[in-house]
Amino acid sequence: MSLLRIWTVTQKGFIHILRDKRTLMMMLSIPMLQLLLFGYAIDMNVDHVPTVIADQSHDAESRAYIESVEASSYFDVVGYVAGPDEMAAAIDRGDAHAGIFIPPDFAAQLKRGDAQVSFLVDGSDVLTAQSAYAMAGTLGQNYAGQVQLQKMEAMGFQIKANPIDARVRILYNPNMENIWFTIPGMCAMILQIQTIALTAASVVREREAGTIEQLLVTPIRPIELMIGKVIPNLILAMVNMLSILALGVFVFGVPFQGSFRLFFWLSLLYSFSGLGLGLLISTVSKNQNQAQQIIMAVMLVGLVLGGFLFPRDTMPQVLRIIGNIFPLTYFIPISRGIITKGVGLGMLWEQVAGLVLYVAVIMIAASRAFRQGLD
């Protein structure tokens, strides 16, 4: 194997990349853009649900109840309507996603001990619906408890408010900062997408343009061509990922708890999985269009099953197994483990072993397919 020949091909790759300034600009800026948007858009915590209120009681008690609803950050009162029908209409229109109906006799019913409040929740948006449903229950319970307490005190009983209080402490990310959750996942995602897409695209493009034949005439060996093609894309993808990471850490203040060196080497390892996949895809695609479609399919499936956007724990067994085909699935726990938890190789060895195996298998398969494809 000649290093000189590899270096030449690598250089050629770099020149290609640098010459295409527009793509370069796009590729470096898009992930940053994505980060900004991801960081702020993905918020699993659904509160401040726009809510309309139909208060047909209009007394001090109903007002007190509404105040307690507003005081919680769960529901944001956006309007008052006349009754349940108008509530439903407001939700139909999309003006609100929830409605609260307080019947006419609220104060008296409360005193008697059988008051009823009805919540209406927009079921067309499942995330909001689930949250609103849970919050409605919690609010109701809370308020009921308070009223009961007041009654008790009025009767002369000395009862403390909350005999059982759950103090929740969240490890690693005490304030549940959204962007602390997203950065590790984004690093994994960007590295995967970039390595696969760039590699596949560059190889297929040359095949389409016919320049591969020209390369084959040179004394270069297939394996050297492969390595030379892979390196510029590797570096580009790593640069991309590291700039996102830097942005997250230095601009958004995401803490990096673990060893950066460990993270760096593992990212490098992980990149090879994407590069290998990219090469494999390039061997089975006859043109750019096909390659793009395959990449999109892989991306979509991998993203959904990988554990970044949705939790893997709740997926059916079958899907979890399929998820293991994607290298993303191994790297996300590694990324989270090092960046957010600050753990070391000791806790991550399972994922790392999986990744090593994956890279080995895929690189062998890819290089074999690549060589065959050239003949």
Partner: protein
């Protein structure tokens, strides 16, 4: 006029043949939507339960036991690991063996009696879903336990069974079981339509440009407008076929309800398809290479998945982020399609979104056609 029609139909035929010849891509285009739908439907589940939990009950008293039982019964927490100290609980979480931990202090029994019992719940903050679910579940359970304890005390003190004075009933509109598939299927339909219209138009244009076929076509008597129409019509047909496949699967396989008017749906979908095609043309005018077109399409796809209300609700997004989402046509289409399919509402409630789509389609198309023409000349 007749000659023009012949030219255009010839171009349409050519495009159709090209599309059909590329069997690989065709399979992809038709199969991908189905794949995604199945995937989303089965994989997407926002609430995490059966969270592996480490427990350290240092009190060994009745109240502690009751509390732990309540946590277990809720099915949110699986009390798998029993240790003897707070430090051990934390270690279990660090190890990844548990995602949550419960520590009941030694004096819990007495504290509850006094009315100031405290339980420590630890959550693994590296996983947002677990944290959200766990936090909510833990506080809710603690609360209901509190009420149970209070009720018991009252009964002991002689007060007759004081039940809670307030009962809250919650009704979920349109989708009473909060079924995830009912939610995702309309979303997937919208997503795929957008992906399809934008990327296939952009790619086909750019590909011809790259391969130099453009020049050959320009030599023919076809006018640039004919070219555009010739490119768009087959893509529209493809999009419609895809739409029907996905929708059909959703309704007949996944039993997703279709409450509203299909005619209205068809009309508005057509409008959306046109706006998507316009965007595809725009992307193609700005991309010199296929790679660029692909990049742009991918970026749009990414943005669309997150900012348009496909999964994550838009109501709480910061203004800047919401604004970006407002620029993407599929945001409005999601509201329309969910409005028709899930809510069963009519034009009266959706005319604003429909109008936006119409204007968008017209504007984008006009701009795209103008730029495209300029480029060809």
């Amino acid at each position: 006029m007749h000659k023009r029609f012949t030219r255009v139909s010839a171009l349409i035929r050519k495009e159709l043949i090209q599309i059909l010849r590329d069997r690989g891509t065709l399979l992809m285009i038709l199969g991908l939507p189905l794949l995604e739908m199945f995937l989303f439907a089965y994989a997407v589940n926002m609430t995490v339960d059966h969270i592996p939990t480490a427990v350290a009950d240092l009190s060994m008293g009745q109240s502690g036991q009751t509390f732990l039982q309540a946590m277990e019964i809720s099915e949110f927490f699986d009390l798998d690991i029993h240790v003897t100290s707070e430090a051990a609980v934390i270690e279990a979480i660090e190890d990844g063996e548990a995602m949550a931990g419960i520590v009941i202090p030694p004096d819990f029994e007495a504290a509850v009696e006094r009315g100031s019992g405290q339980v420590l719940v630890l959550l693994d903050g590296s996983d947002s879903y677990t944290v959200q679910s766990g936090y909510r579940a833990a506080t809710a359970i603690a609360q209901s336990q509190s009420l149970a304890v209070t009720a018991e005390k009252l009964t002991r003190s002689g007060a007759s069974g004081m039940s809670l004075p307030l009962f809250t009933s919650t009704r979920v509109l349109y989708n009473p079981n909060m079924d995830g598939m009912t939610f995702m299927v309309p979303g997937v339909v919208g997503m795929l339509l957008q992906m399809l219209t934008i990327s296939s138009t952009a790619m086909s244009v750019v590909r011809e440009h790259e391969l130099g076929i453009m020049e050959q076509i320009l030599i023919t008597p076809a006018r640039s407008l004919d070219l555009i129409v010739g490119k768009l019509v087959p893509n529209v047909l493809l999009a419609i076929v895809d739409l029907l496949i996905v929708l059909g699967t959703g309704i007949f396989w996944f039993k997703v309800p279709f409450q509203g008017s299909f005619g209205l749906f068809a009309l508005l979908s057509l409008t959306f398809i046109i706006s998507g095609l316009g965007m595809g043309l725009l992307v193609s005018t700005f991309s010199k290479t296929q790679k660029e077109a692909q990049q742009m399409s991918s970026m749009l796809l990414m943005l669309s998945m997150l900012l348009t209300g496909l999964i994550y609700p838009r109501a709480n997004m910061p203004a800047a982020v919401k604004f970006v989402g407002d620029l993407i046509p599929v945001t409005y289409y999601f509201r329309i399609i969910r409005g028709i399919m899930t809510k069963g509402v009519g034009m009266a409630f959706m005319w604003q979104d429909a109008l936006v789509l119409l204007i968008y389609g017209v504007v984008v198309m006009t701009v795209a056609v103008k730029l495209f023409k300029k480029r060809l000349d």
